[in-house]
Symmetry: D2
Subunit: 147 residues, 4 copies
């Protein structure tokens, strides 16, 4: 990804260009709110098409946000192309609200991999409620099982 | 979900009706291939809109399939309304191909929760390749943190 | 566990009595440094008998500390008898040093379960280095699969 | 680990020598019942010193067995020195009985890492009951964060 000397604005812009290349993120309407090395915030305005049979956002939407945020956090911390090789997620509250926000940060950064954590919040009328927590491993693309 | 005396055909049909109520699954185009108590197969024909910037299906698509399959496996094993309370997923190969198939089965079934596992395969020209493995907890809706 | 009106000293003492009832923790030599509702610190002075073939503390020692700390954090947050129903752990550095310290905190507390996170540090000459991160679910004993 | 042309007996013997070098496994009394490339069975005769305050084997004993079995399964599949970089475990029943048995197998084997799964059983009077399921990543020692 970006070399460290890039300005915060350019760094965020580069992150948004990557998001724009993810057809799936474009389909869902994901937005990149903030990005710095090892740290990211993504958001998704909830629409009916994101829901499951109980009227909540589908768990798959929440896990997608977690996966994507972990990848951004690990990738910008390591400054190389990466993929998420594994993660776990705990859902703690139904994802109900106007939008979802996920914040992730790299907790450990190595040469070949990093470990990141994230929190997903459901936002209703400006009030954030924690709805999921994730933790996963992000690996250099060339050394990944998925590369 | 369905009482045990229902015929296999009706059981599958009931499962498809639930899938049809998941707006997100309809958006993605997920199909329910097979369903019996504690066991499920879902598939998703891959389209460009499912991809990320490297040209693979987005990890979020794969984790959505894992989440959904685990919920079906646990829910049909327990025969009550459920949600997936947590899961972990390991990606082992890029999700590239014509379609993705996920198979899940309940490995332990209790009164209030069950533990299920799944395998996601990328299918190209009829050949299946393992691309992810998941394991998670499915809980009764009324006792769930997300209910 | 303890009712909320108990003094911090008594609360810690009650936690130490529980630890003293864990024969396995006594065998290993685990100590309870600090305990308050939803928050715990355990430590283990490393001995040769804790090691594996590469000379590090065995991963099983680290995962035991994570498991135990998650249970304390969740149990003191919920103020009921609990067990850890599941957790995941990422090892990020060999557990080498004089002692290991684990700190856990409840991140979400519900009626029937809570989700907690922990960090395990290897301490050498007073310097702490992060060696593992965990996240898991703690459930009320009566409603648990393991009760 | 062992080159592929080694006889099954020698392979098992080499596995037992590694176990004998794990001081922690010696402390606990772990035995290696069976070992072949990508597949392992370990057992532990339960003693009072393995228990927690409810009279079950401590979750840390169960997670130690899972961790160790996953490492054996991944290491013998890859035929290189390895460590477990992460795993998750679901406890589904109290670990009560005469002994615990864990069986693990590699589910995917790559050059730099493999993904393995395990099942832990509590054995009473010859009857096995599933008490935990695990899944994790095993990585080549040289490329590991923990090496």
């Amino acid at each position: 990804m970006a070399p460290p000397q890039v300005s915060p604005e350019v760094f965020l812009q580069m992150g948004r260009e990557i998001l724009a290349q993810q057809a799936f993120s474009v389909l869902l309407g994901t937005e990149l709110n903030a990005l710095s090395p090892g740290k990211v915030e993504l958001q998704l305005v909830l629409k009916d098409e994101h829901k499951q049979q109980h009227g909540f956002a589908h768990g798959g939407i929440v896990s997608y946000l977690a996966d994507n945020a972990l990848t951004y956090a690990g990738g910008t911390a390591m400054q190389v192309p990466v993929v998420t090789s594994e993660f776990k997620i705990n859902y703690v509250r139904p994802a109900v609200g106007d939008k979802l926000i996920v914040r992730a940060q790299a907790e450990h950064v190595g040469k070949a991999q990093s470990v990141a954590r994230c929190q997903v919040f459901a936002v209703s009328g400006g009030v954030e409620k924690l709805c999921a927590l994730g933790q996963g491993t992000i690996v250099k693309l060339g050394e990944s099982p998925a590369s």
